[in-house]
Symmetry: C2
Amino acid sequence: MDIAEVLRKNGYKVTPQRLAVFGTIDHNPNHPNAEDIYKTLQPRYPSMSLATVYKTMEIFAKIGVVQVLQCEEDAHRYDFNTHPHAHIRCVRCNRVVDVDMDRDVLSKLAAEQTGFKVNTVSISFTGVCTECQKKEQ
Amino acid sequence: MDIAEVLRKNGYKVTPQRLAVFGTIDHNPNHPNAEDIYKTLQPRYPSMSLATVYKTMEIFAKIGVVQVLQCEEDAHRYDFNTHPHAHIRCVRCNRVVDVDMDRDVLSKLAAEQTGFKVNTVSISFTGVCTECQKKEQ
DNA sequence: TTTTATGCAAACCGTTTGCAGGACA
DNA sequence: TGTCCTGCAAACGGTTTGCATAAAA
């Protein structure tokens, strides 16, 4: 997917900042938050502001380029993987890892129980990752 | 369960404020947030501060009297139902409803996929409740 | 009497907003 | 050229904190 094209198609201008932000999240498995992205870009784009990161991510979320995560912590994280899936966060090192999970079954169950028309499903786990488990022994 | 006893057992003092806060959440199906609790108590306890509500809820969460929820919105909500279960929030009226759900299967799946030792599971849905569905027709 | 809790106000932190100057198309 | 974007700084909203006073044990 060409991000420049996607931006143009949705009526947004292509700017160096937007390309740079996309560069940091594209196939980035670390699920960074706005601050992470900002700090990553700081050396190469010292004039870029945190507000621009936020505004860019809002657009990216709107046009379906990223997914916004709430992993039981204060700051939002962004995931380039927009395919529906769950997340697990390590309470020791704060690493966040993707988890494949069929959510249709859960949606159906919730709909049956409550009568709601279900829009979104969010599944998130916390735990201790393999590396931190080793360190603790 | 006698809240006064639970507080004492855990080394906390029993105060009118704590009893009053507990009174608003005990068997309250509305999953209120701190502001809601504060406003509910305002008429009867005009001197009670929002800070006290927060401090009280922190204790209640610590001693297992309430569960803290993140329902894909800004403010936390509190649930007197501490039995593991999921939640669904109506995006129109913001009502939050409990959903029974077996989370052991999901935990096991996540553990198998990632190697994590799973601590917590959070499942939350958004959608449109039956009443708001009717209104929209 | 000792210890803990309250209420106030200020601080905090992630995020959003308004706006003047600057860049894209 | 017209429109949109950027960067700054200030505002915002939910939450936390420090501290003097007050209440519980």
